[in-house]
Amino acid sequence: MLTRLNLKGSYGNTASLAGVSAAQTIATFSYLEDAYATARILQLLALYNRDLKPEHTTSIDAGVQAGFFDRLSLDLRWYRRQTADALLDVPIAASNGFSMMKRNIGVLRNDGIEAGISISLPDITPDWGLRFSTSVAYNKNKVIDLYYTDKLYTSDYSLIPDFQIGKPYDTLYGLRQTGINAVTGLPIFIGKDGREIVPGQTQLTRDDFITLGHLTPPYSGSFNLGVTWKNLELDADFYWVAGGIKQYNYTYVRNRDDVNYNALRGLTQTMWLREGDVNKIYYSPFYSSAAIETLQYANTSNTGSSNYLRLSMLSLRYRVPQKVLSSTRIIKYATAALQASNLFTLTPYSESDPETGTLGSAVQPVITLNLSLTF
């Protein structure tokens, strides 16, 4: 019954300086287009960190793969990636002359498990073959240690620490919105103990925030279906993610200066514009600057689930039979394939691409035709 058993394990150590520019580790000066008196201005670009170290990632992988009857295979894999000396741009005191600096902040851990099944039936009949596989992965992350603090905030307005020992570092916190106030046009937020938060008037505290979800989707998976008939092969790959949340960052057209942005269809119908407008979705474009602080936070209405299912690859391949090729005498092998990637994405994230958040950076379908000849 058990035709094959593989046990796999690996251990790796890598270092990375990804995202670090020269200016962050060594004094880097750059000319501006401005001049002071008779001298062109040469500016120190950033407060460089003489003690900056590369990130060290230790990866451990362990997996087992079992094959049954030569047809069915099950595999299970566990991985852990622990990054020490994680790099991050953090705010620093203004008396240093600069507001941010890149530092090694602590130890972050990312681990998960993957399970997969694949069934391969290459010869159901002499002409037909079938292949099917599916896999599911679960990923979680956690802050293991922070070097010089136990809570790290990355901006003056953070009420919840962005990195806290023992907690995941991709959680999105926000406020709970229950609608648009018909009189003021501002959203109604419910905070701690059910109290109402009025934008611009109520001082927010940490307890007013709720956990909205994970920014990196914890669940992901794929399934692949392949069918062969004689010399034709049809393959379809699907990829899905689930469990993540993303803030909508579409620009809402609120005044004449924004009209160059594409507005959503029906935006003005669903935006509060004057007193008495009820059942609106988008809040008023006329708000006081005091309200901005509360409106900038994520909330239940301006975030959406970033789950998606994508047909990531569809291909049809034809292998030219040997009988045809041997008559040409020079061509040894020939295949022709039509391949399409990212044909469609199904997602409840209504306003744009769930992976990147903007229409402009969404992956576009690509169709290729390739012909390969071996002489």
Binding site: S30, A93, G97, F98
Partner: protein, 461 residues
């Protein structure tokens, strides 16, 4: 053969292409600052970053009164009325800017020893840069001290500001007022010892260092030394610098004999004093009070530059502030801002002499009358003495520096003498005389303390 070629070609395919070539105009250490020219360009970025607070300080002082349009600018009205939110906004601009200049000066001081100075001219330039870096730091510390810390007369152990001597990330506590003054003095004396050979007022030359040291000594209460330093400048340049022909060029030229230090960045100076204008045809938000405007006699050469008469149906007859506002009204570009000029030396000497005792008050009156004579104004009463003399000197100083932001510091330093002239300007000892330490300092610096009366937010735990 095919195999050999493919083995040789394979590595080429394996090398990843990384086009992380730095831009042509970015230079990194070591030897990024290799020549005196580079050093001059680096310090230019420090000078250019100096914050422009003159207008805001003038609004806070008693230079202006509101016009009919004042109510249309709530944020400027808040500032005029000394609302805490306005002072908070000024502090979050000024504090990081001054420290940015200080960090640039520190970066330069670290790299000056590494500059190769082959010729005499190069050596002179390196010495000049060293002196300027010290003076620039002292200048920033002095402004920060006067804005964020209590007057020395209230005690030298009160909290001053952060002294930053290296380009590293630190969370430093505030030094005391006394320690800050000592540091400023040390920097200026080192600058004087190094010596500066230049005369261009765009840079902090020897005269600027001397004047700054005189002002610091006056601020600290060392009247004799302040008077000596200030009068040495007056003797060096001469009272002819106060004559009408020179005054005319003070606002128009970058090489006027009265100028000691000017902020010479045309791009940044363009918007200076823009905040006072409501509309170029209908008027300004604030004007000069009639009683002040009347003090300029017709023979006073400062009148045409300081006061702009204006009348309209809405406002009646008004006197708007001139100087930079006048340049803008005449549609001329503001190319520079006068930060230090010889008049400051005169008034520093006069204030110091008036408080020094002995024959000081006499010398003060003589100097002041010589100055006023050049300006074309009426002389002061020679029988004045004591507090009355000091008040008169400060009043004449007010007329000289109207709208330039100097009056705020006098109101603060001499707050008990000048009293609170209206309910608007806070009484001596009010918490608003000390600006709040900004959030982006104390949130990340655990050693930082806030000035009394101001809130200190924290990340709620």
């Amino acid at each position: 053969m095919k195999k050999i070629i493919s083995y040789l070609a394979a590595p080429l395919l394996l090398t990843g292409c990384s086009l992380d070539i730095p831009y042509d105009n970015q230079f990194t250490d070591p030897d990024a600052i290799a020549t005196p020219e580079n050093g001059r360009e680096l310090i230019a970025s420090g000078y250019s970053s100096l914050p422009a607070t003159g207008f805001d300080l003038a609004v806070l002082s008693d230079d202006f009164i509101p016009t009919y349009w004042a109510s249309r600018n709530p944020s400027l009205s808040n500032q005029y009325n000394w609302q805490p939110s306005a002072l908070h906004d000024l502090s979050i601009y000024a504090w990081p800017q001054y420290y940015s200049v200080i960090s640039t000066a520190n970066a330069l001081l670290e790299r000056l020893p590494g500059i190769t100075a082959a010729t005499d001219a190069d050596r002179r330039e390196v010495a000049d840069l060293t002196a300027e870096a010290y003076t620039l730091k002292a200048y920033c510390y002095f402004q920060l001290l006067r804005l964020f810390a209590a007057d020395p007369a209230d005690g030298l152990d009160n909290e001053g500001i952060v002294i930053k001597n290296s380009l590293t990330m630190d969370n430093l506590p505030r030094a005391t007022v006394g320690a800050t003054i000592d540091e400023i003095r040390r920097l200026l004396e080192e600058a004087i010892a190094t010596g500066h050979s230049g005369t261009d007022p765009s840079w902090l030359t020897a005269d600027a260092t001397t004047l700054l040291l005189a002002e610091v000594e006056l601020y600290a209460g060392n009247f004799q030394r302040a008077a000596t330093l200030a009068s040495s400048l007056l003797d060096k340049r001469g009272y002819e610098c106060f004559s009408p022909s020179v005054y005319r060029t003070l606002w128009e030229s970058t090489s006027c004999e009265e100028q000691i230090f000017i902020y010479n960045d045309p791009d940044q100076s363009q918007t200076y004093y823009q905040g006072i204008v409501y509309d170029t045809t209908t008027g300004d938000y604030y004007s000069v009070s009639p009683s002040l405007a009347m003090e300029y006699t017709d023979t006073d050469c400062r009148k045409e530059w300081t006061i702009c008469p204006f009348s309209s149906q809405a406002l009646g007859s008004q006197s708007f502030i001139g100087k930079y506002n006048l340049l803008r009204r005449e549609k001329r570009e503001i190319m520079f801002v006068n930060k230090m000029r010889l008049s400051a030396a005169l008034f520093t000497a006069a204030e110091a002499w008036a408080q020094a005792g002995g024959d000081g008050p006499q010398k003060a009156i003589v100097a002041l009358n010589r100055f006023l004579d050049r300006r074309g104004a009426d002389p002061v009463d020679t029988s004045l003495s004591g507090d009355a003399l000091l008040k008169e000197i400060l009043h004449q100083k007010h007329l000289e520096f109207l709208g330039e932001g100097q009056r705020y510091f006098d109101l603060k330093h001499y707050s008990r003498l000048l009293g609170s002239t209206s309910g608007r300007i806070p009484a001596p000892g009010d918490y608003r005389w000390l600006w709040p330490i900004p959030k982006d300092e104390y949130l990340y610096n655990d050693n930082m303390t806030q000035n009394p009366g101001w809130p200190k937010d924290s990340f709620n735990d």
